[in-house]
């Protein structure tokens, strides 16, 4: 394989092919979202307070995302990783995983929003802003969690570690997302461009860090 873009393209195609081959992982995570929402529907009935609606939505999405992304490095066997390292550059590997996971999380968050609005209710007034926030949020979640999953997969008890490593460093992202989606629910007249810029800025920082740091993670 030659250029970085070619490598990324092939690796994403590989990820999708593998995902399609054993569909139970994908359907498992989709079912996870649906059943979590159903549990909260049974406990809350319907939610009319915007801040509670908002917080619950993001908490469900946060846990679902962690579950979805956690497997991205843990399922790789040592031999498979070694083979991958001889073929592609570390940057291509991490970027392809990040792009693939953001596709996955975009689908996941769309499904989450749909099911959540059916059962728990829908309070959104400004759809474009909410969807934009959701898209940027999926992208940020995916890049951060992919990197943390790469770190956690090197340790002995990786699933617990995945949660405790990612929660504290996800806070800046989550706070901005919650603030923005609250604005979308309230339907403010003007978009708060500062927050959108901060969100883009956080995404760029995470990707730059992953780009630089991942090559230290994968060599054994």
């Amino acid at each position: 394989m030659t250029g970085l873009f070619d490598q990324i393209k092939y690796l994403i195609a590989k990820e999708i092919k593998l995902e399609m081959r054993n569909k139970y992982a994908l359907s498992g995570i989709l079912l996870y979202v649906v059943s979590t929402i159903f549990v909260s529907y049974l406990s809350f009935k319907s939610i009319v307070t915007p801040s509670v609606w908002n917080a619950l939505f993001w908490i469900i999405l946060l846990f679902a995302s962690i579950n979805a992304v956690a497997k991205s490095f843990m399922n790789e066997t040592k031999g498979k990783l070694l083979y991958l390292y001889t073929l592609a550059s570390p940057q291509a590997v991490i970027l392809s995983k990040i792009i693939y996971n953001s596709l996955l999380l975009t689908v996941l968050s769309a499904l989450c929003l749909l099911v959540y609005s059916i059962f728990v209710g829908n309070l959104i007034q400004d759809y474009p802003l909410f969807l934009l926030t959701l898209l940027l949020g999926s992208f940020g979640f995916s890049s951060l969690l992919t990197m943390v999953s790469a770190i956690a997969s090197k340790s002995n008890n990786n699933f617990t570690l995945m949660a405790i490593l990612s929660f504290p460093i996800m806070m800046p992202l989550l706070m901005v997302l919650i603030k923005l989606s609250k604005n979308a629910i309230d339907g403010l007249e003007h978009w708060d461009l500062n927050y959108l810029l901060v969100l883009v800025f956080i995404n760029v920082i995470i990707i730059a860090l992953s780009f630089v740091l991942f090559r230290y993670l994968w060599r054994e």
């Binding site: 990197m147 090197k154 740091l213």
Partner: protein, 221 residues
């Protein structure tokens, strides 16, 4: 002795802080009253913590460059020392909050930032504990240290702009520089900051030496 002059400075400044901090005059402020003296103990803790955590970050970067295990020892011990002063900062802040805001803990941006810092570094220690192989542990935890520190700085930069805060220096509250910190307080505050930072660095160098001795003992057995 020539190399150790800064330890003398640390002891003298901290002693001076304790004596002068409790005895010198302080301006009478409405809610603060005498608790304003906590400024000499609470604020320098956070300065010391950020200094020592930056040392930890620096040595993590150095480890990734040179793969020298000594940098890893320094980075982890610096993080340990940072947690020590961080907890002291939390405790002094909590007591201060009890007497000025009326609660041990309030939902406030500064306090949340402090709590997140603690969580990040406790997670760092758990990560270190869960990897057995030495070089691998050093490498993986160095990566997490850098990643976490950058996200922490982002967090500390963003959060104060998002919410109002009770804490001085945020959300329209005046910091101490504006008018509370008059010239007598400055005379204690600046030596206090220098003294506590130097003392923290001293604790940190002792920890590094102790860890090196411990490793030597393990490998000689």
């Amino acid at each position: 002795m020539k190399k150790n002059w800064w330890k003398v400075v640390a002891v003298v400044f901290v002693l001076y802080t304790i004596i002068a901090g409790f005895l010198f005059n302080v301006p009478a402020q409405p809610i603060l009253h005498e608790t304003i003296r906590n400024l000499y103990f609470h604020v320098p803790m956070w300065f010391s913590m950020m200094t020592i955590l930056f040392v930890s970050l620096w040595h993590s970067i150095k480890y990734l460059n040179k793969s020298n295990i000594e940098s890893d020892i320094v980075a982890s011990q610096a993080a340990h020392t940072g947690m020590l002063v961080g907890f002291l900062g939390l405790i002094t802040g909590s007591i201060w909050a009890r007497y000025t805001w009326g609660a041990w803990w309030v939902a406030d941006t500064k306090l949340n930032g402090a709590a997140i810092t603690m969580l990040i570094y406790l997670a760092y220690f758990v990560l270190r504990g869960s990897i057995d192989e030495e070089q691998k542990r050093a490498r993986i935890s160095a990566v997490y240290n850098i990643f976490a520190y950058v996200m922490l700085v982002v967090f500390l930069m963003i959060l104060p702009r998002m919410n109002d805060s009770l804490h001085p220096g945020n959300g329209g509250n005046p910091g101490f520089n504006k008018y509370d910190l008059d010239s007598t307080m400055r005379m204690v505050f600046y030596p206090a900051v220098i003294g506590w930072i130097l003392l923290t660095v001293w604790i940190f160098t002792l920890r590094v030496r102790l860890e090196k001795v411990r490793r030597k003992l393990i490998y000689n057995d």
